[in-house]
């Protein structure tokens, strides 16, 4: 791995012991995770615990005529069998989704996608529960399914959502942004207009750990304890409170260690509710863990946008406007995880990193007989789709103008002095300096040399491609004035308590699924109050232990919760300063903060450390007038804006002309996420996201046959990349701090997933230039590349 970074020799040192927070530091959680001592939901074992298995629909669309559970109930080890009818009696057959739609917990009237939950069994062990499913006799009346999204609104299309009052078609919602007329005017006077249909196929987050829960309802206390695979424990608790009518203080949601989320663990799934009902019905703790196929066929998918992109420019390459029309497949229930006022997530940033005159998007979303979801799969709420659209269409323009794609981008970047920059769709980019990032990527790549090599290879009939993408992300949702999920504002709480001996505990409302919160947040606190990261305990994931907040997704932890952590530490530091002034018998103004201690200005010999102050705060002797004992603070941080990280990615591919196999030879990623807290963790996030990008660009897709059978029901069918498909990542960075974030940090969790697919696709299309190819849709499997080479590039859906 090549990295333009501080020298590796200084790598980790003893940063965890130093009072200075930022820098490389091994992850505090890794000794636990690497030694197999992590505690995941499936590790929870409770006395008397029973196991739950779910019966799922084999059909994509069918009326449920009858469900006979008698044989299953009589099976050995079975404690309860519950159907939709049972839940109906409890008022629990339906539940709200994160997008203000409803979703069936267990089907009562119809099944609307293959894999939908129909009934569940609770038994002594998972084998007995699973075996009993075979004994449930369901009679279905099979209906025509709606699978082809383009036919969903046809007048004769079967109606999927007849559960919704007055619904007569499969229309889900319409959404638009930008100015249609202004954009039309710009297009009318442009020298060049390029149009391209672009599909972002349905993909699945496929975390290593599937979803699951252990529910333990104590009927005497009236208290529910729920361990579950959730990225948003507080939001889930409030929703359970609303759905189940239990008060929040009687619900404890615990997200233990999580084996990857990627947005898959944001929604509430029927299985969680089933586990709760199972525990209430049997009076015993109940565990539900879905298997791999259940995870792939029934939980939140991502993408599934069919986009028509149009770009208008002058002959010399000044981009004037971008316009798009999107058909969005939302599956059987609209379970999209996004702030409610943003039904298309943050797709509105499809104008990218360019200073243009006009933009317009019109979107139509429809229901189909496919799994619900549309989760924020490492996509910052649909920015993946937006960046893919703009970076693909800009490349199409470059081809049309016969201009180098790097040059075209450089020519159109928003300039540093234009920030804060308001886009034509109303987003206020906080800060950015794009050209140095782009130049650095080109330098690492040796861009000019690569183009020379490509020319030589082309002359010999070899296929080599160079692809660029430049992205601006919008993360850290979000300001509560316009961002909420089901009425819950997207602010985050944080509590910091310094113990008498100067060790500390910080309590977060967000929850790691592998991002390294236990390290990053300790470093933020360390940076602010000078206590070494090793002495800071990070508590998260348990609603009884942590303040309210909306959880970890959309790269929001550092921009929102990270800001909360910095500010709560500053509150503690302010109080520490008051105490220090008493200890040193000087005024507050006479003190200066030198990492880890307060010193009398001009007299470094007179100083007290944060540890000494902590002891004094809890110890004997009077404190200054009006200062309470203890050293702790809490905060709820409401961000004033999103943060806008950016990055320049360059991908080099080679294609075997005989077999059409794509080999990613090199990948250069230069990221700007503002202030860098732990560069090692940032690189880890980037490496993972880039790997994800290779998967989506080259192999991943959840597809269906015409009957609605999911063809990606196992990891043999739904391919995710391995180490062999990815090159050694070459990373670099620039730093443009966020002006409104207390430490200038922007999120980075999803940057690479957002930015990499267009770089790879652009590289493949570039390689195929001798064949006259201008576009080919993902996933670029050998067969699809071969089709493209023959002029037969067809959309995957």
């Amino acid at each position: 791995m090549t990295t333009v970074e501080e020298p590796r020799t200084s790598t980790f040192d003893d940063n965890d012991q130093k009072p200075v927070g930022f820098g490389r530091m091994l992850r505090k959680e890794d000794p636990r995770l690497l030694r197999g001592r992590g505690r995941f939901t499936d590790d929870v074992q409770l006395p008397g615990m029973l196991h739950l298995a779910i019966l799922r629909s084999p059909f994509a669309h069918a009326r449920v005529v009858s469900v006979d559970t008698s044989a299953a109930e009589a099976a050995p080890g079975v404690k309860a069998v519950v159907t939709g009818e049972t839940l109906k009696g409890l008022g629990l057959a339906w539940m709200p989704t994160l997008s203000n739609d409803v979703q069936a917990v267990l089907a009562t009237d119809k099944v609307r996608f293959q894999g939908q939950e129909v009934a569940f069994v609770v038994a002594d062990d998972r084998y007995a529960a699973r075996d009993a499913l075979e004994l449930i006799d369901v009679e279905y009346d099979v209906l025509d399914p709606v699978i082809d999204v383009r036919q969903a609104l046809a007048p004769d299309a079967p109606l999927i959502r007849d559960d919704l009052e007055g619904k007569t078609d499969n229309h889900c919602f319409d959404w638009e942004t930008g100015d249609a007329d202004e954009t039309e005017a710009v297009f009318a006077r442009a020298d060049v207009v390029v149009q391209q249909d672009i599909v972002y196929p349905r993909v699945h987050p496929a975390p290593m750990e599937t979803c699951g829960a252990v529910a333990d309802f104590d009927a005497v206390e009236g208290k529910l304890k729920l361990w579950s695979t959730t990225q948003a424990p507080h939001a889930h608790r409030t929703l359970y409170a609303i759905v189940a009518g239990l008060p929040e203080h009687k619900i404890q949601v615990i997200a233990p260690d999580i084996g990857g989320g990627f947005g898959n663990k944001v929604p509430i799934y029927p299985g969680y509710v089933c586990a709760i009902v199972g525990s209430i019905v049997t009076g015993k703790p109940v565990k539900w863990m879905e298997d791999r196929s259940e995870n792939l066929i029934s939980t939140g998918f991502a993408r599934d946008y069919i986009m028509r992109g149009e770009i208008a420019a002058t002959r010399d390459g000044k981009i004037l406007g971008i316009r798009t029309n999107v058909l969005a497949d939302h599956g059987a229930f609209n379970g999209t995880a996004a702030p409610v006022k943003y039904p298309a997530g943050f797709f509105g940033v499809f104008t990218g990193s360019y200073d243009i005159e006009a933009a317009y998007c019109k979107m139509t979303a429809v229901y189909t007989n496919k799994a619900p979801g549309g989760v924020a799969y490492a996509c910052s709420f649909r920015i993946t789709e937006a960046v893919y659209l703009v970076e693909r269409i800009v490349d199409c323009l470059a081809a049309e103008l016969d201009m180098d794609p790097a040059e075209l981008r450089l020519k159109n970047f928003i300039q540093p002095d234009q920030f804060p920059y308001t886009t034509k769709t109303g987003w206020v980019y906080d800060s950015g300096d794009y050209e140095p990032t782009m130049r650095q990527a080109m330098d690492i790549a040796g861009y000019a040399e690569l183009r020379r090599e490509q020319e030589e290879k082309r002359a010999r009939g070899e296929l080599m491609g160079i692809g660029i993408s430049f992205f601006t992300e919008a993360v850290g949702a979000g300001p509560r004035k316009n961002m909420d999920i089901l009425g819950l504002g997207m602010a985050d709480g944080c509590e910091l308590r310094v113990h008498p001996t100067g060790k500390a505990v910080v309590r977060l409302s967000v929850k790691t699924q592998g991002q390294g919160h236990e390290t990053t947040f300790a470093q933020i606190i360390a940076e602010e109050i000078g206590i070494p990261p090793a002495d800071i305990e990070v508590v998260h994931g348990d609603t009884d232990q942590t303040p309210f907040g909306l959880g970890t997704y959309g790269s929001r932890s550092t921009p929102v919760s990270g800001a909360a952590a910095a500010l709560v530490a500053r509150k503690v530091r302010d109080k520490a300063q008051l105490i220090a002034s008493a200890m040193l018998e000087v005024t507050v103004a006479d003190l200066e903060w030198v990492k880890g201690s307060f010193q009398v200005k001009g007299d470094p010999g007179k100083a007290v450390t944060i540890q000494q102050i902590a002891m004094r705060a809890h110890g004997a002797g009077d404190l200054p007038e009006g200062v309470e004992g203890g050293l702790e603070a809490q905060i709820c941080y409401n961000p004033s804006n999103l943060t806008y990280p950016h990055g320049a990615y360059i991908c080099v591919v080679d294609i075997d002309p005989g077999t059409a196999q794509v080999k990613v030879r090199r990948f250069i990623a230069v990221d700007d996420c503002g202030t860098r807290i732990n560069p090692m963790i940032i690189e880890g996030q980037v490496h993972g996201g880039l790997t994800d990008g290779v998967g989506m660009a080259l192999m991943e897709m959840i597809s269906f046959d015409e009957d609605g059978n999911c063809l990606g029901a196992s990891l043999m069918d739904y391919l995710i990349p391995t180490a062999l498909e990815v090159p050694d990542w070459e990373t670099g960075y620039t730093v443009t701090p966020s002006p409104h974030h207390p430490i200038g940090a922007k999120g980075v969790g999803e940057s690479a997933t957002v930015g990499s697919p267009p770089a790879i696709v652009n590289a493949v299309v570039d390689a195929l230039k001798p064949y006259g190819v201008r576009h080919a849709d993902m996933p670029l499997t050998p067969s699809r590349v071969w089709d493209a080479m023959r002029g037969r590039a067809t959309p995957p859906i």
């Binding site: 196929s293 069918d717 499997t781 050998p782 089709d787």
Partner: protein, 295 residues
């Protein structure tokens, strides 16, 4: 966790005891070798059996690569329980039949290769099974043992009856696969996959035997994932025999391969593309096999 339906399990103590159990239990019983084809199907409940007879204890008896005789008339005998990993790592085997190492490098992943067996691969009779293509290419024959120690030997053509169907009867077991050793031989294998460890989109094996004058004495091509069975293509052998190795000859062979196979469009690729690969990979493997035969 995916869980199979309940089944009874017994560890075999000898080949004949295993065959005795099979005879007694009939079609409700199955042998489990590496388990890497059988168990996934059972976990997905695509297949349910009442009894599993574990033949892994027979690895000592049936896990071997033996050379019997030298040169013409000699053969290599490989026990049915020989694991992918053993086939991959055997230098002797790679020297005699480089196609084995070529193929084993691209079959599944180390975890599967540590357990999966030659016998299991052939008996699974999946049309995409790489070792079936290798055995077809090398003109192997299969030793099937039945009740009372009765043995019969069948060619690969006769062994594969259809997709997932072999000549092995209910009370029988595959014990050994035999590969004739012929002078002047070279062989190679190529596979196109969507991702490392994935099943083949298409794969092809080729073996050639050169006469003293450098012409092709005999040649065979075996394809996987292009039809219901992995079968050799006699027309290619006929077209190559007696000819001087050359590019246009490989092209001719490739064209025959493309038109002789019967691939289906699926998630791995279109039928057209697979047909093209049959052509492309036939040419590539013949080229390599000839180069190896010459060196």
């Amino acid at each position: 966790m995916q869980v199979p339906a309940p089944f009874e399990y017994e560890r075999a103590t000898s080949v004949d005891q295993a065959i005795g159990l099979l005879e007694r239990l009939g079609s409700s019983a199955r042998l489990v070798a590496g388990g890497h084809s059988l168990l996934p199907m059972m976990k997905l409940r695509l297949a349910n059996f009442d009894y599993l007879i574990d033949i892994n204890p027979l690895h000592t008896e049936l896990g071997y690569i033996r050379f019997a005789g030298e040169g013409a008339g000699g053969e290599v005998r490989i026990g049915a329980m020989t694991r992918h990993r053993e086939l991959l790592e055997s230098d002797e085997l790679a020297a005699a039949f480089p196609i084995f190492r070529d193929a084993e490098r691209v079959i599944a992943d180390p975890i599967v290769r540590n357990r999966g067996t030659l016998g299991g691969s052939l008996c699974q009779a999946d049309p995409s099974e790489d070792l079936s293509a290798v055995c077809t290419t090398l003109d192997a024959s299969c030793v099937i043992r039945g009740p009372g120690g009765a043995e019969r030997v069948v060619t690969m053509e006769d062994f594969h009856v259809g997709p997932y169907e072999t000549a092995v009867g209910d009370g029988e077991m595959l014990t050994e696969v035999r590969f004739p050793l012929r002078p002047g031989g070279g062989s190679a294998y190529e596979k196109v996959e969507r991702r490392a460890g994935d099943w083949a989109v298409v794969s092809a094996g080729a073996a050639v035997w050169l006469a003293g004058d450098g012409t092709i004495a005999d040649a065979r091509v075996g394809l996987a994932a292009v039809g219901p069975n992995t079968t050799g293509i006699p027309e290619i052998s006929a077209a190559l025999r007696g000819r001087e190795p050359a590019e246009d000859l490989y092209e001719q062979a490739g064209a025959i391969a493309a038109r002789s196979c019967d691939p289906a469009t699926d998630q791995r690729g279109s039928a057209d593309y697979k047909r093209h690969l049959a052509d492309e990979l036939t040419r590539r493997t013949l080229r390599t096999a000839v180069a190896r035969a010459r060196s």
